[in-house]
């Protein structure tokens, strides 16, 4: 694989990064072969991605339109949009869509995003030890494996758990959170687990705001909130967009956390789309139907993904 481009005329003359001009005389065949040789190192990645990512996505788009079931592969047949029609008439599906929406808005848009920004901006003013301790605690919650986080918050929200102990101590009414408000409990769990990411993104963004600008505003007598609203937020709006998008995508596909805490229950009161999909495909053996739900999830995810790429478009 000696595809090293010929060095410049003077040997080590600085050739700026750019097309290493092939003489126009010998084009076509050798050039095409060199292009192929150069592309060779990309091929393992492309093969893996084609087989294990693009393949399943294509397969997903296919079986979503069949009535494939776990037992007896032979009798699956093409049924058009029936799965989707069934889904939109299915109360349990609509419930899952609604809960996914609640879960995403509460935990990602409101929870992780706002808390992350609040932490990042408080950290700029706080004293060093407090900043370090808080950062370490919040990041530890993020680094822990998903299932462990699920268990910790399961213990936290259970009737005999820590939250009720704290409420008792404060003489506030306690209750069985996982039963009365399961979707709220899992949303808080997701906030606990995911805030660190927003915090890191916003810390980086706030660090890039030139100090002069905030100082100038301070001198002009702008208070904290006004500075936040008129200066800080507009200046980090790109980071806000990126962060919201990534948080939302991440939250849309949360499975383990909810599975460990509630299994989607009680009943189906915390059953978001991924859990609904799993239940249909495996516990009810309706692979076709489950995949149709998966395809909808994938389409929503792709839309968010496209918006995210627009936000980043200058950087590619």
């Amino acid at each position: 694989m000696t595809t090293a481009p010929p060095a410049g005329p003077g040997g080590v003359v600085k050739t700026p990064r750019g097309p290493d001009l092939p003489p126009p005389a010998r084009r076509s065949a050798p050039r095409a072969r060199r292009g192929l040789l150069r592309a060779l190192p990309v091929s393992p990645a492309v093969v893996l991605l084609a087989l294990f990512m693009a393949g399943p996505i294509g397969y997903c788009a296919y079986i979503a339109f069949t009535d494939l079931q776990l037992t007896g592969q032979a009798e699956s047949s093409f049924i058009g949009f029936d799965n989707f029609r069934e889904a939109f008439g299915d109360e349990r599906f609509l419930n899952a869509v609604w809960l996914t929406l609640v879960f995403t808005v509460l935990s990602s848009l409101i929870g992780q995003n706002t808390l992350g920004l609040a932490l990042a901006s408080l950290m700029r003013r706080a004293s060093k030890p407090v900043r370090t301790v808080t950062g370490a605690v919040v990041i530890t919650a993020w680094v822990l494996p998903e299932v462990v986080a699920g268990f910790l918050l399961y213990a936290f929200f259970r009737r005999e758990g820590t939250l009720n102990a704290v409420l008792d101590f404060l003489h506030l009414p306690s209750q069985n959170w996982m039963f009365t408000l399961p979707i709220l409990a899992v949303s808080f769990a997701n906030v606990w687990r995911g805030t660190a990411f927003s915090m890191l993104v916003y810390s980086a963004a706030l660090n890039e705001i030139p100090k002069e600008i905030t100082e100038a505003a301070e001198v002009d007598g702008a208070g904290g909130w006004r500075r936040m609203w008129h200066i800080t937020l507009p200046m980090i709006r790109r980071s806000i967009g990126t962060n919201l998008m990534l948080n939302t995508l991440q939250t849309l596909s949360v499975f383990g956390l909810i599975w460990v805490m509630t299994r989607g229950g009680p009943g189906n009161r915390s059953q978001t789309l991924p859990l609904f999909m799993y239940e249909q495909a495996f516990q009810k053996s309706m692979i076709g139907y489950g995949t149709a739900v998966a395809l909808l999830l994938l389409v929503v995810g792709s839309l968010f993904s496209l918006v995210y790429m627009r936000l980043l478009r200058t950087e590619v």
Partner: protein, 290 residues
């Protein structure tokens, strides 16, 4: 800066300083409240793991014991699942790093019309919800007989992590000046040799970030092995931890806590290691900045 200095200097110096101190106290208080709320579940797992009578509440144990660890540290409860985790995540990470480094090299070094569309596709793939394709992956794996095999799961792990790894690796590689390779080229080194001997060593921290990040993501992943593996003996820790709940009878929370800590330790150590070396808040924040 000089502009603001004259304006700020004209004021009485005491007021801003005391106000700043008040601000700092307020910020400290706010952060400590949040930290306290965040630390409670963490405190539970640490305290329960050494508490002989652990339940679901955070409390200081009456006496300390290592019994929980003792009970958990057996081949079938801890060692086999952790070994499986290491095999799966180690294999997946190795594959991811090798493939992404190879792929990043031409993308970073040669110009081609295909680079931009390729990178855009990669970026698009980084943010697809993997959860959503697990049902078709399962169906596919059943048909090609990869279901319940370690290698199948490793391949899928690698594929799911590759887009982000390629993205990161290419950006890090762009930071290595091309001029450094040219001397090697004139000496007749192939591009593979120059990738291996010159580029990768120079972007050591970048490779470390990709490695650690891939490993941590796979280590914590529950859904992929949960779907693709069936035999209990092959299950990694992320799935086997559910067995503490599976059997009838009461859950021994102390043992669950001890196991959770054992299982979490490698990723926490890796994170500490890499953030020490790279300083502050992980290069990840920079990698995804908008």
């Amino acid at each position: 800066m000089p502009v603001t200095k004259s304006a700020g200097g004209a004021r009485a110096p005491r007021t801003p300083r005391s106000r700043r101190r008040k601000h700092r106290l307020a910020a400290d208080a706010g952060l400590l409240v949040v930290a306290a709320a965040f630390v409670l579940p963490l405190a539970w797992v640490v305290l329960s793991s050494v508490d002989p009578k652990a339940d679901l509440r955070v409390r200081l144990p009456d006496s300390l014991t290592l019994d929980n660890y003792d009970k958990v540290l057996t081949p079938e409860i801890t060692f086999t699942p952790l070994l499986n985790s290491f095999l799966l995540c180690g294999g997946g990470t190795l594959l991811t790093v090798v493939c992404s480094a190879l792929a990043a090299y031409p993308l970073s070094r040669y110009r081609s019309r295909l680079n931009r569309p390729f990178m855009l596709t990669i970026l698009f793939a980084t943010s697809l919800p993997i959860t959503a394709i697990m049902v078709p992956v399962y169906a596919l794996f059943v048909q090609v007989d990869l279901i319940d095999t370690m290698q199948g799961t490793i391949f899928f792990f690698a594929a799911s992590q590759l887009p982000f790894a390629i993205w990161l690796m290419k950006n890090f590689m762009d930071g290595v000046p091309k001029e450094l390779e040219e001397a090697a080229w004139t000496d007749g080194a192939s591009s593979f040799q120059s990738l291996l001997r010159i580029v990768l060593p120079l972007m050591g921290p970048g490779v470390a970030v990709v490695t650690v990040f891939s490993f941590v993501m796979m280590w914590g992943n529950f859904f992929v092995p949960f779907m693709l593996l069936l035999t209990p003996e092959q299950m990694p820790a992320s799935v086997s931890i559910n067995d503490f709940f599976g059997n009838k009878g009461t859950v021994v929370y102390g043992q669950l806590a001890a196991f959770s800590l054992l299982y979490s330790t490698p990723v926490i150590l890796l994170y500490v290691l890499i953030s020490r070396r790279l300083g502050g808040g992980f290069a990840l924040g920079g990698a995804v900045k908008g």
